[in-house]
């Protein structure tokens, strides 16, 4: 029998319920408001009082309203048909909802249960299988979507039968398995999983050893992210977090992109589902939307569901990773999730930590980032989740709990600088403060030696050195004046400007410049480093300034031209010409 209860207190979306039976932490319940069922999650229990956070507006709720507990935690539905979908934070399908406005208590099915899928068996009778092993496959768009032994199956099973190739609905039985006690269990193409629990189903999680190409130069060239790695993008408002994430979603060399719009603007989600169907995936030539899932809890949607949205996104990522796919998970912005935790914690009158955030914020963030990673599956194949979150620090000040906690959890730091954004030097990733810890991994260094060229990381280090020296020179020039410093300072400064304008700055809205393949990145870096290696003899600093501005201008024209096109070669010729008379 289900536990029931009665509402005894209401503050915004925190509701206290007096219960008549057992309840579990994180259990889901429904509150009956004149026939409208409001979904809520248990976040604290004290005696026979449960505190629940309601995923909807609590307007009109009264003391004494009835509550029914469900016996399960917040869970998502997994199965073919997730790709190209637009879900809210609780995995309701936004596309199938009626009306222009979101209605309270309206819940829609995540997956289409009528659709027929072309199923091909992968396992056969007699096979021994465990959770997450592949039983069959359907084509989801062009991706092979594996039908797996449900994640919650414990121990080893024997396959009794798998249905023949053919068309099936997700709720049809496609396999029958026998457990150790000889009991038979049926498997369909769909299963459920609680979002706050990490999906296992792999044998090991080695250190990331490959680089994920993103087409963004200041990432790939300077601070690459590993496949299965983690990174974060903190930055004041308007500095380019979302534009950078959208660029990653468009260009990254991943099979699946999951974007969690967490407490941000609805128009940014509209941008994705309007533009992605039209854009082509540069790696496969397919429409970008085909590989994308949007989880959308915009800032005006219920706060509690905001917290759920990032977990929903991660769980879908884990599902595809278990199929051996390369998943890129993007969350914008994880600060909004932390704020949702703060709002709840304050209403619960918990002892606040720094800036009013819950004291265990750091642990919550670390646990979440730890769910990403590169994994080896039972069958020897591999899959990965690369996770990049944005952080929106209050007042743009990085000394705040969310940034500091995330710094401990993520391996790449792409800090956006207000100063660069003000100067429209986009992407405003600060080249001095940002880092990728992966550049220190021997396996990554080796991978880059192989993939790009031997000694590549040394070149990267050298580039960073040029940038730092340029910054020092610039500070000296500012203190001592143009004429107060030796000529070499000007040269140092302008060499770093060359790197800045040609390598770091990249116009996300330009069709050509917006995305740079690795090969082209190498070509341009070599070119720029070759110029930086030269020593010049200028009579005065104005000559130096004019000369470098000329070079920068030509290189930028190259960035805007199709790689190795006639135009590109023309500018390259011009550059060589310029370099002759130094």
């Amino acid at each position: 029998m289900k536990t029931t209860g009665k509402v005894t207190g209401i503050i915004a979306n925190l509701v206290t319920v007096e219960v008549d039976g057992p309840v579990a932490q994180n259990e889901i319940c429904f509150i009956d408001l004149d026939g409208v069922e409001l979904m809520a999650e248990v976040i604290k229990v004290n005696g026979n009082k449960a505190s629940v956070q309601v995923f909807e507006s609590t307007r009109g709720l009264q003391i004494g309203d009835k509550v029914e507990f469900q016996g399960y935690m917040l869970e998502v539905t997994l199965g073919p048909g997730l790709l190209s979908s637009n879900f809210d934070g609780l995995q309701n399908n936004l596309a199938t909802m009626e009306g222009v406005f979101l209605k309270r208590g309206e819940y829609t099915k995540a997956l289409d249960e009528e659709k027929l899928w072309d199923f091909t068996p992968l396992a056969k009778a007699g096979d021994h299988v465990v959770a997450a092993d592949w039983l069959g496959e359907v084509k989801e768009g062009w991706l092979p979507h594996k039908i797996m032994v449900p994640f919650n199956f414990k121990g080893t099973y024997t396959v009794k039968n798998v249905v023949a190739a053919g068309q099936y609905k997700i709720t049809d039985t496609v396999a029958t398995l026998t457990n150790a006690d000889g009991e038979e269990v049926k498997v369909t193409m769909t299963q459920k999983w609680p979002v706050k629990v990490a999906v296992g189903g792999y044998v090991e999680k080695p250190r990331p050893f490959k680089v994920m190409e993103t087409g963004v130069r200041c990432i790939d060239t300077l601070n690459p992210i590993a496949e299965g790695g983690t990174g974060f993008i903190p930055g004041p408002f308007g500095c380019g977090k979302t534009v950078l994430q959208h660029a990653l979603a468009e260009q990254a060399d991943a099979d699946i992109i999951i974007m969690a719009a967490c407490g941000e603007r609805a128009n940014e989600v509209v941008e994705i589902f309007t533009e992605f169907p039209e854009l082509k995936d540069k790696h496969t030539g397919r429409s970008l939307m085909e590989r994308t899932i949007i989880i959308c809890n915009t800032s005006n949607m219920p706060v509690a569901a905001r917290e759920a949205s990032v977990y929903t996104a991660m769980t879908l990522g884990e599902y595809y990773r278990a199929m051996g796919m390369k998943v890129l998970l993007l969350a914008d912005s994880t600060s909004r999730w932390a704020q949702a935790l703060r709002e709840m914690s304050n209403r619960l009158e918990e002892l606040p930590g720094q800036d009013g955030f819950p004291v265990d914020l750091s642990a919550i963030i670390s646990n979440f980032y730890a769910r990403a990673g590169y994994v080896k599956l039972n069958n020897g194949q591999s899959g990965s989740i690369t996770f990049i979150g944005t952080v929106s620090p209050a007042g743009g000040n990085l000394k705040e709990p969310v940034t500091e906690s995330t710094k401990k959890a993520a391996r790449c730091f792409y800090g956006l600088s207000q100063n660069r954004a003000d100067k429209k030097r986009y992407p405003a990733v600060d080249p001095v403060d940002s880092y990728s810890k992966y550049l220190e991994y021997p396996e990554i260094i080796e991978y880059l030696d192989e993939k790009i060229e031997k000694g590549w990381v040394d070149k990267v280090t050298k580039t960073k050195y040029i940038i730092r020296r340029g910054k020092d020179a610039y500070e000296q020039i500012n203190i001592l004046g143009d004429d107060g410093v030796p000529m070499s300072y000007h040269e140092q400064y302008w060499k770093s400007e060359l790197v800045d304008f040609v390598i770091l700055q990249q116009d996300a809205f330009d069709d050509i410049d917006g995305s740079t393949p690795l090969e082209r990145q190498k070509f341009m870096l070599d070119l720029v480093l070759e110029i930086c290696d030269r020593s010049f003899k200028f009579d005065n600093f104005e000559e130096c300034t004019t000369y470098f501005k000329g070079l920068i201008n030509i290189c930028r024209q190259m960035n805007y031209s199709e790689y190795k096109s006639e135009q590109f070669e023309k500018y390259l010729g011009q550059l060589k010409e310029e370099l002759k008379h130094e």
Partner: protein, 441 residues
Amino acid sequence: MSEKAFQRIYTKLSAITKATVTLEAQGVANDELALVAGRLAQVVKIKDNAVTLQVFGGTEDIPTNAEVTFFGEPPSLNVSDELAGRFFNAYGEPIDGGPAVEGEKRQIGGPSVNPFKRRQPSQLIPTGIAGIDLNNTLVSGQKIPFFADPDQPYNQVMSMVALRADVDKIILGGMGLSNDDYLFFKNQFESAGALHKIISFVNTTDQPPVERLLIPDMALTAAEYFAVDKNEKVLVLLTDMTLYADALSIVSNRMDQIPSKDSMPGSLYSDLAKIYEKAVQLPDGGSITIIAVTTLNDGDITHAIPDNTGYITEGQLFLRADPDSGKVIVDPFRSLSRLKQLVQNKKTREDHSAVMNTSVRLYADAANAKTKLENGFDLSDYDLRCLDYAKEYATRLLAIDVNISIEEMLDTGWELFGKYFTKAETGLKEKLIEKYWKDKE
């Protein structure tokens, strides 16, 4: 607000703070309205039988035996075409001497539009002000505030923008508006002959601050009626959102919530987002555009109110006095329209974004030169040209008193490039230079 026949009347308050009262009552619903000693109040917290209400008019001289009656419903507004041309207070009651509005009663602060039912904003809103049209182009369905110190003429600029914009309705939500500014708006609308398309909800400085909390929701409920039901293009003006946020903090601090940065409630982000996210482009042509004002304290945008606002809105228009040109300008560095790329070069000339970027970059070079000058260093020839350029750029393009077409703005941009710089110094794409470059006359 009418009272119902079967009202429950209570007369025993157990607690009173500056903004709230608490009493024992039964059958009360969250968010519902009540009258406390004749003042409108709303339920904000219920614990067992203890009900806490925020009293919009403030709790001054409310006695513990004050009469409390509950309405059984949350705040609402009667919507119909009759709203047009009318002036209301924070409760939606007429203040223009006219009759009450007949129409469908709608709860304010209602649900949000399904993100999937939205459309991408794509219609340019020209204002004639180059600091906006050229550098920070506005798009219908956008939400954007003016960031300005209290001594800037933000209300004037806003009314100018509103009257020049091609929209069907303009809805003014005035919060803590000085009486002079209220009359200024009224005057402007009247003399422009635009009263028939204007609806105003006004709370003036002499009225209780907590009342202001109702203004944005009232204005946006009216806006949704015209945009959703009537497919109209609606422009909502909200001034001053800083005073709105101040009112929020008064209530939350009285409810013993743990304040976060700058003594603002921890929910400030969500509270503001609920308002701004009502900006929308609807599939059937209707739209709600929100232009707001957030006054700053000494230009400090790291304060919690502008900071949270910046994280929510689609850019900001930063007004400041420019000592070199002696004009109020739209600061090109701190201002931003996030949606500008949806219309630039598409609905405007192909060189728009290039001219915008280059002119701002050169203006930044001028700022560097100025720093050099202030530090007592010699200026190079380039520096000097930048400074001259900056002055002319500020006067002819950034100043808020400019009123020209976007085409003229672009032409002026090219004229200034040619006048002060070489082609290479501008770094513009060759394709554009060939077509638009103007040599110095």
